[in-house]
Symmetry: C5
Amino acid sequence: MDPATLIGLLLALGAVFGALFMGGLNPIGIFLADIPSIILVFGGTIGVTVASGTMPAAINAIKVFIKALTGGAVEDPSENVKLLVDFADVARREGLLALEPRLEEIDDPFFRKGMEMAVDGTDPEDLREQLEIDLDKTRARHKSGAAFFVTAAGFAPAMGMIGTVIGLVDMLGNLDDPSSLGPSMAVAFLTTLWGAFLANFLFAPISNKLKKMSVDELDAKEIVLEGIIAVQAGSNPRAIASMLASFLPPANREDLTEDKKSA
Amino acid sequence: MDPATLIGLLLALGAVFGALFMGGLNPIGIFLADIPSIILVFGGTIGVTVASGTMPAAINAIKVFIKALTGGAVEDPSENVKLLVDFADVARREGLLALEPRLEEIDDPFFRKGMEMAVDGTDPEDLREQLEIDLDKTRARHKSGAAFFVTAAGFAPAMGMIGTVIGLVDMLGNLDDPSSLGPSMAVAFLTTLWGAFLANFLFAPISNKLKKMSVDELDAKEIVLEGIIAVQAGSNPRAIASMLASFLPPANREDLTEDKKSA
Amino acid sequence: MDPATLIGLLLALGAVFGALFMGGLNPIGIFLADIPSIILVFGGTIGVTVASGTMPAAINAIKVFIKALTGGAVEDPSENVKLLVDFADVARREGLLALEPRLEEIDDPFFRKGMEMAVDGTDPEDLREQLEIDLDKTRARHKSGAAFFVTAAGFAPAMGMIGTVIGLVDMLGNLDDPSSLGPSMAVAFLTTLWGAFLANFLFAPISNKLKKMSVDELDAKEIVLEGIIAVQAGSNPRAIASMLASFLPPANREDLTEDKKSA
Amino acid sequence: MDPATLIGLLLALGAVFGALFMGGLNPIGIFLADIPSIILVFGGTIGVTVASGTMPAAINAIKVFIKALTGGAVEDPSENVKLLVDFADVARREGLLALEPRLEEIDDPFFRKGMEMAVDGTDPEDLREQLEIDLDKTRARHKSGAAFFVTAAGFAPAMGMIGTVIGLVDMLGNLDDPSSLGPSMAVAFLTTLWGAFLANFLFAPISNKLKKMSVDELDAKEIVLEGIIAVQAGSNPRAIASMLASFLPPANREDLTEDKKSA
Amino acid sequence: MDPATLIGLLLALGAVFGALFMGGLNPIGIFLADIPSIILVFGGTIGVTVASGTMPAAINAIKVFIKALTGGAVEDPSENVKLLVDFADVARREGLLALEPRLEEIDDPFFRKGMEMAVDGTDPEDLREQLEIDLDKTRARHKSGAAFFVTAAGFAPAMGMIGTVIGLVDMLGNLDDPSSLGPSMAVAFLTTLWGAFLANFLFAPISNKLKKMSVDELDAKEIVLEGIIAVQAGSNPRAIASMLASFLPPANREDLTEDKKSA
């Protein structure tokens, strides 16, 4: 659980609403001035976004939305690296089968499935191929999960613009009462405001976060994949530590090589 | 048949028209206020989109449009996986030829053609190459089918803008009667409205849906392809189930491995 | 020769001009109201587009433009497939050299050159490499041919905008005569109109059409390439027909396999 | 030296200035009406573009700019092809070493370096690898050289917009003298004009030209690379001519094969 | 340390502020006229950008920002080439182990780690794979570091636009006092100004600079990688110099080959 999305959205909303208060405006009075405008923009955006995909994709978007708000803290990859180096040590000394009782220590299903296959004696090439298919399909699922929000972020400003043009067309066709001109235009611009607001404070950050989470998760899985292959191949634990360290930022490497030298 | 596109478009239109009613406006009065505006935007968009391709592509767009509205429910890939595992079992016990009578169970032409070739003893490398060409060309056909709507979604707002500028040029050149200013501008903005409306409520959702359907269909075919190759190679049914499970979302895998364990 | 571009452009122009007539406007009066506006947009766009490339590329654009207007009907690939299957039959029965007198039946220079090389006994790997270089370079030439129109479609609206801003700057600097305000703005907006018009009714459809023609032509050549290689390798005509059928849409395949079965 | 960029820019400027004269405006009076506007847009654009890269890249941009204005005429690749075919002939009859005295005929440093290495007996794989590294790095250098102008073309309109918004903010804050409203807005729009003008008449054409020059130069080098490898391998001159002809447009091939037949 | 970013930003700010002074405006009075506008744009942009990623990514952005302002001067790659050629000489004459005492001369951790592995007798394929993983992950880390500023540059103008629309909605809803119209609009446009200003004078140049620094650093590392592999393989120093020279711009090559000839 990474708090960046919740904190960031609170900060952004705080900045907008705080600035309005400071400027003597009433944010709620402005944003909620016209309920039909909100219905038009929100309903229109959700509608055409649902129409852009399939029913399962639309339903999945709800799950994905909650994941994006609260998720993001991939467990530290160094932990997995240490476990893999430890496994390599056992495998070299006592054989791959000696790892069987230790598989329960693994929480990550991808890691556990891969180690199970390795211990079961799956052919190394098949093992790599299958884990890589898993990675590819996970990437495709993440992309498809983020697609709803990418699409919605593109449609929302267009819905706002459509609402504003409808408002202008109506207003320009009925100029009898000049005193209503201002308020009519204010209402017309409300849909532009909501379209930009939904896109920039909701859909775009959520889709960005989902992409970031996907990159982080796949990076972590890639390390695990290479580690499992190396453990099965019976590589030297020190060589595995050094190889997997190449995946980590330089700052996190020290730790691993320190451990290795004292080992 | 997946209802997302029809439901989504109804929801979006409902939101726009409902919001207008709530705001005391007459949606039909606004949208249909000026028939020439609609002709300009719709005719202009369709015209330059047809000009952007070939005649067969333009005719194909009609078929593709109906497919996008109603299609999208790819049969559950798990069914195909189960069938493939079943075939693998038969092939191992009784040989590939024993599968011949069972080919009629297959509905999907790609699956059936591939299995027929496998049973006919096609060289495994030729088999894979030919099925992969089929996938590549299917992908290219899908892309080319969606291209009409991608192009139209790009042209529609430009047509709306051209109509509005023509309206403004005409209006500004004839400012004699100030009372006609408002209605003239209202008519001018109607083309902007129709351009944005056609792009966002018709062409863009349709092209998005077509892309999504293509990804789903090709994912399903990829599983079938790998399964056919494995069945022909005489792989262990359990190994095939495990390999093909890597293509499915984790949630759908349980089912398969359960089956396998009890088998 | 495919009529889509000519028909599409006529349809689009018809829609715009028809709509203007219906609305009581004089399209010619509006579009040709100010000749300098047209010179500015058209001359400016052509100028910076020429400056964006080399002289031979600019001269080539004229040839390519005519090709885009009238071209597009790639001969039915099924014909080539049938010819290749026929050649395979001859080659298997009487040897590759027996094909020499039949090479004159081939119209397409790429097909003929490839078959000549195959009959001349060119090494299969060299043959494939050379035909693939030919495809790659053809693709690059097509891309470079379309580039003029892609670039022009991007510059035209910018030229229109520059003309309008110049008009506004001039008008705002000379507000002495309020009655000239409207007509001055009308003239200023004419360049915006022409910029959008040239981009959307000329440059963009032409560049789109060129890209579509390139894809179709390269698809057709790819089939020929694979067929020539297979003929030279002495493959079974039925296997060639089946392999090449994978390149065609399912609807066009029937035909080929029918032929094969009766053969 | 290819005149397209100079001719194109003159044509474009001529169209704009000519159109203004025809419309009774004074182009110089408009463009140079406010020197601070020009300083803001030009200085701002150059500043943030320099800030977007490193000092050597900024200095390099000046050299590259002059190259873009005057360059573009890659020597006819057919000449190199003829020389390579000639070399192949000599190499086959008298050995690679017999080419040593002829290396001075080569002007292009890439061609000469490659031939020197071939004559020196460099291992064919090393030779190809090294020449391909050279091509890749040349492509990267070209891209990095064009980057300055791509970046500047993106920033210039934004600078123009910033200048205009500053002008509007200032004007709206001081509405005491209505008669100054028009001229103030005129000045404000001048920065928009300059931003669009610099982007479309200077930075974008230059960056486009640089990309085109890079493609042409790399195409020419690719032919030389393949030719050198073939000469070193002692291939048949006719086969080399035919292979290299695949890189040229069909129109330029005749010439080569004619030569070959009479030889 | 490369001064381009600091110099460029000072030049750009100098151009804007200087132009305002020349035009008789007070830049500080304009930019700082309304503090809530600045809070809205800056806070909103930072907030949604933080929400687009994870907490560690947000914290990392501060470090990366300072690096972008002052960094960029990658040590001259020719120095590394000379050192590698020197190492190759030693390795050929005295063996790889003779390089051990010289490893301390290397400052760059990537270079040193690679040479250490080479000297330790790491398998050449493993060595290349590990160094390439290091390069790939460095590229990914750079991309992820620049992502914060790319994202912020995209959000800032949208925040400005949202602020302006809020201002317009408020103003149009309260038209009672016409004299406040101008100043209200001035304040509304201030957020547009700040959004464009932050994007173009801060976030975009920083993200561009980070991308440029990444390309330069990876180019330098690629040379080192190929050099280390060649040194370990015991290649001829002259051949290494020539191979690595292919990575450098022609101007920097002379130097290396001169050295070689006199050696």
